[in-house]
Symmetry: C2
Subunit: 326 residues, 2 copies
């Protein structure tokens, strides 16, 4: 036996065991049947070929950070910083590009069509006209209308399905359900994994039930690595889907190398490399063939970096579908 | 020298040193001059005696959870679960009771007058009437109007000052500024400390600058205890203010003992004991004289447990002002 292959097979076995342990120990996902049903309906409706025989593509956009609880009755948790801006904005451009979008998002993170609004749009964009009536403030009038109309059009038109999560357990359980549901559309599925997923977690069974007491001077929290589910997604859950993941770093010196390593290790079709400080200005799309720098175009009205980014990925996805012969 | 007093004095010295180390190592608060100015204007305007010679009372309500960053360019942090529902609801009842309220809240946590609205009120409470116009959905019509009108009335009327925070550093720096600013109104000031404040943090200078790399199988996070700032608030920052703190536990067996211990240790005037599971139904107000169980009254339209809770605390505060002879 080839020793390298032997090593890979044993690594594979370890991963499978780690993944099983993660899901076995996770608290059961609430309303999982309802979620599966919604997903199946959504995918079936969208993917039925239209009059011209074309199949609409579907992308699962993940967005926001996941939490890793430190206590079973959760008071404290480790969180990842992510406003969800990237995922929300990208969702708008995927819809424009004709995709159906499954938006798997962290509760209270940014929502599609709402990014030009202040943090608390209800209180900041409306004002009373008298004791009992309200109106939208002039400055936000257009943005508020567009947010509500465009969001409603996408949801009511059956092109946008929104599914919220909080914990790393919920996120990975739902990602698995989504991936299994999307198998039936083969290469027409895309995953756009923009969520900031915890690298470490406390296994549910190791967790204390009650709030950690604050008596001692030091708190020593030991977390273990979350199994690399990207590998599972590619190999088992939805092996024909086009997969794009993200690499965020604060240190630009290591960014591209880390993105390249992720591409190879998880067999992604593309990795979007972004640096915390400049992530709204430019990103680099790393594929096995090339590294393409994508920059926001300030001459356009839709001058988000997500505009050219989604165009590029949509093209790569189209080529991928053609190449797969479907 | 009395050995007990010697011990207390040495404990005091340690605390002072820990507090100094905490603030010295914290990143400087953004816009601190602007915050101080806003506070001084707010307090001065509200506390000038009215025609009948009465001084309006001011309460600082803290609300939501604080974060403890694990990296200087923050990607990961430890967070405390708290929706901010208690603080937001209590603020409404304090305003009704005639207080001016300084609302020190975690960004994106619940806001006063908005608790009966869904998570995402803009997208869930409004709908398009056609391509370019929107209206509020019937089911939320009254709640949306009340939220905007009542919130606007309180802010524009100069009775509600809102100050947001994210980190434990921002929270404690702002609490100190608020306390110092409220000194001038002596016993007419109240602190209602409903925020879920981190017990542990990583000192800024010990923090890694860049994102923690996820190579290793285990992540061992060592946090140190946040200095007990309640003692500082009572002794140094605003020694004449009426102070109420909160004790939240998931284990009812230890709750009242812990609340009593906090009352004594930090010399609070009242500690509100609440259990995670039943916190919206009942709380126990622990003072040196008594333990009063406060329950929500379902026969009233304002049937929040905060309604009788704020009534009780407002009475205790009034007695406290009388007793102090001002």
């Amino acid at each position: 036996m080839d020793p390298a292959k032997g090593l890979e097979a044993s690594g594979e076995k370890t991963l499978q065991a780690e993944v099983k342990a993660f899901f076995d120990s996770a608290p059961p996902l609430q309303k999982s049947d309802e979620i599966t049903q919604k997903l199946n309906q959504f995918i079936q409706r969208i993917s039925s070929p239209s009059a011209n025989g074309k199949v609409r593509r579907i992308v699962c956009v993940t967005s926001g950070g996941t939490t890793a609880p430190l206590e079973q009755r959760c008071v404290r948790y480790v969180d990842n910083f992510s406003s969800g801006h990237r995922g929300a904005t990208s969702t708008e451009y995927f819809l424009k590009a004709g995709y159906g979008v499954i938006f798997l998002y962290r509760k209270r993170s940014f929502q599609p069509f709402c990014r030009s609004l202040p943090d608390d749009p209800l209180l900041e964009c409306f004002k009373p006209t008298d004791e009992a009536n309200i109106q939208v403030c002039e400055a936000y009038s257009e943005a508020v209308k567009r947010a509500i109309v465009d969001h409603h059009t996408a949801v009511a038109g059956g092109l946008l399905l929104k599914l919220p999560f909080n914990t790393i357990f919920e996120y990975l359980q739902m990602l698995q359900i989504i991936a299994m549901s999307m198998r039936c559309i083969g290469p027409h599925a895309m995953f756009y994994l923009a969520a900031a997923v915890s690298d470490y977690y406390v296994p549910w069974k190791d967790m204390v039930e009650h709030k950690i007491q604050s008596g001692s001077h030091l708190l020593d929290v030991k977390l273990v690595q979350v199994p690399k589910m990207l590998s599972m997604l590619r190999k088992d859950w939805a092996p024909l889907a086009f997969c794009t993941s993200f690499k965020l770093e604060t240190d630009s010196n290591i960014l591209l190398n880390k993105a390249g390593a992720a591409l190879e290790k998880y067999k992604m079709h593309a990795v979007v490399a972004n640096e915390l400080a400049s992530r709204k200005e430019q990103v680099v799309v790393v594929t096995s063939a090339e590294k393409v720098t994508v920059q926001r175009d300030n001459s356009q009205s839709d001058n988000d970096v997500e505009n050219p980014l989604i165009k590029l990925l949509s093209e790569k996805h189209a080529t991928y579908i053609e190449d797969s012969g479907r």
